[in-house]
Amino acid sequence: MTVSDATATDSAIPEESLANVGLASQRELVWRKFTEHALALASGVVIILIYLVGIFAEFVAPRSPDFYDSSYTMLAPQQLKFWRTGEDGSTEFGMHVNGFSSQRDPNTLRRVFTLDENVVVPVGLFVKGAPYRLWGLIPSDIHLIGPLDPSQPFYLLGSDRLGRDVLSRLVHGTRVSTSIGLVGVAVSLVLGVILGGISGYFGGWIDNFIQRVIEFIMSVPTIPLWMGLAAAIPVTWSPVLVYFIITMIISLIGWTSLAREVRGRFMSWRNEPFVIAARLDGTSQMTIIGRHLVPGFVSHIIASVTLAIPAMIIAETSLSFLGIGLRPPVVSWGVLLQEAQNIRSLAEAPWLLAPGVLVIITVLALNFLGDGLRDAADPYT
């Protein structure tokens, strides 16, 4: 019997129907599905922008975070205007903000500044301002936006009680807060994947032990634990060291849920037919893990990580807000919010809440992004 002929007649595939189907890889499918998710896509753009701001903080901020001008305290945000009236009465393009004129309060004899429509502070993009070193390395004095004359007042988000620029501080705070989220998650990820992988792969008493440890850590109330650990940091330590330690403290909690997820996937996939098939193909254990198990849940892990960052950011913000996290002169969103801790500033200077708004935007965007990634992670359903 001629086998090849016989099987050929049984062959089921019409020539034309599947011309270009099925060539897209997992990664392409995930990307395709992700891009269908408009909200997640928009959130992704927002997150990228926020991280860009954090990365290029010195360049984006008009001033250094420590810059202050005691003449201009508690000023409301200035409005950025694009058209100005020339001396001859014609309207021409020119970015500017209105300056202030000072008067002395007849009762308290304090100098008060009122916005004066007639005073024009010209503003430019890529202006020369205070010199800085980008990432502490590259010297420059170009700022994305700023007054042409650095000595003139420029407060797009108002100023605080010391006359510091809220916008500049917010931009620098963004760097600290978002990087804590990222570094914290990276540490959790390493811990979670390694310990979860060991737990799920080896099983037995190792698994039992790691699971009990995870349960113990999860059962400890978070805020008191953080408070205890943070309070134990000596006041004499440098802000950078404190920053580092706080990150560690936060990620101590974060790894547990990741470890559980990794373990669960290892456990359930170890007996999947395609994994057994790979074993029967003579593939070694390590290759099975590297080639069959891990790629399968990378996308899931990216999604969980994205969803874990907001928790980290909120944790840092909460700790700093309570005064047990980062300490000035380091600026983070939590440190900034500390400024707005009293009724007076809330009533008189609501712009000090800007970091809070940014926290909400960031956390929401990360959550939407994470949801979109999680949905896309399984493109076959």
């Binding site: 019997m1 016989a6 007649t9 049984d10 089921a12 595939i13 019409p14 129907s17």
Partner: protein, 353 residues
């Protein structure tokens, strides 16, 4: 109970489906899951809908009860349901979320599924679920409901029904669970029972028992039954009437005898030829007849007769261009095939002469 003559349909079918269409409007295109189906189900008789996966057989069942998953919906046709002593209703015209169809579901028409574990709640006892079902449609005391629940379990052959009322579904075997599902379906004395592959997940031995049970209960209650399966053996065991479906169309329907012993449609012929038959011992190396190709993707359905891409008799220019008519080949035996259409076949014969 198989001995009744089943070539002569009764005057008034219990459920008469005409031109039923259920479509799914997806972004990729329109899927015609059910595409102009005519069927009749009679009281006291079993109609088997048989087809491969993707034939739309389950969607026909779901369309009857208006439980098509979104974005699918019944978009055309009528389904006249005429229960004895009540006015006929057109189920196709009812709002899927409305009260009238909910009153029909469960009480007049009951449905059982392939995997009973998915339709039973794991956190409630069998008795609670049965009683809830009974109390939903009937006014009676809890005690009476419990009485009736125990009776229902006894009737489907579950030993010690009263004790079984307090067991949880996971404590039962697959066969027992399916019996519980049948008991629940029959608790409100429906006029029509729709069974979607109820025995597919079961062992042959259990399957035989469940099929016997269903036939017995039908003989007792005179209910109509629509039985959906892919297994022609099961069809032969239980069917009075058979409808063979392919890509959302009924290609052939008629009495079980007509379809098994005088099949007309090339698809029916091919299906019957492709199953290994017990007792028909092959010579070594003898091959099974197989249908070439596979069921086309629903988004890529062929023009004309849906089966033309795989049909050994298909005539180019005809079968792949125009839809075949449905003809009554003999009384109660309908076939949709150009090559069985006297108008076309005689013309061809004349042409070859």
């Amino acid at each position: 109970m198989h001995s009744q003559t089943n070539s002569q349909p009764q005057s008034q079918p219990l459920l008469s489906i005409r031109g039923l269409k259920t479509h799914f409007a997806l972004r990729e295109g329109l899927i015609r899951a059910v595409d102009g189906v005519d069927l009749d189900a009679h009281a006291g008789k079993t109609l088997c809908i048989v087809g491969e996966s993707g034939s739309g057989k389950s969607m026909i069942a779901r369309s009857i009860l208006q439980i098509v998953p979104p974005p699918g919906r019944v978009s055309d046709g009528q389904m006249i349901f005429a229960r004895d002593g009540r006015d006929p209703v057109d189920l196709a015209g009812l709002d899927p979320a409305g009260k009238p169809i909910r009153a029909v579901r469960g009480r007049d028409i009951a449905m059982i599924f392939q995997e009973p574990m998915n339709s039973l709640s794991p956190v409630h006892t069998v008795g609670d679920q049965l009683m809830e079902k009974i109390l939903l449609h009937h006014r009676m005391s809890r005690h009476e409901a419990e009485e009736r629940a125990a009776h229902a379990l006894g009737r489907v052959g579950i030993p010690n029904p009263r004790q079984r009322l307090s067991t949880y579904p996971f404590e039962l075997s697959g066969g027992m669970r399916q019996r519980v599902m049948i008991a629940m379906a029959l608790a409100c004395q429906p006029a029509l029972l729709i069974a979607d592959e109820p025995t597919t997940a079961l062992d042959v031995t259990t399957q035989a028992n469940i099929l016997d049970l269903m036939a017995e209960l039908q003989a007792e209650t005179r209910m109509g039954m629509i039985f959906i399966t892919h297994d022609l053996g099961v069809v032969a065991e239980i069917a009075h009437e058979v409808a063979v479906v392919y890509l959302g169309r009924v290609v052939e329907r008629g009495s079980a005898d007509a379809v098994f012993y005088n099949p007309q449609h090339p698809y029916t012929l091919a299906l019957l030829a492709s199953i290994p038959k017990l007792g028909a011992r092959r010579e070594r190396g003898q091959r099974l007849h197989s249908i070439k190709g596979m069921v086309p993707h629903p988004l890529n359905r062929p023009k004309g007769c849906p089966f033309n891409t795989r049909c050994p008799e298909a005539r180019p220019g005809l079968c792949d261009a125009t839809d075949p008519r449905t003809l009554e080949f003999e009384t109660g035996h309908f076939v949709s095939c150009h090559m069985r259409d006297p108008a076309i076949v005689t013309r061809r014969e004349e042409a070859t002469v």
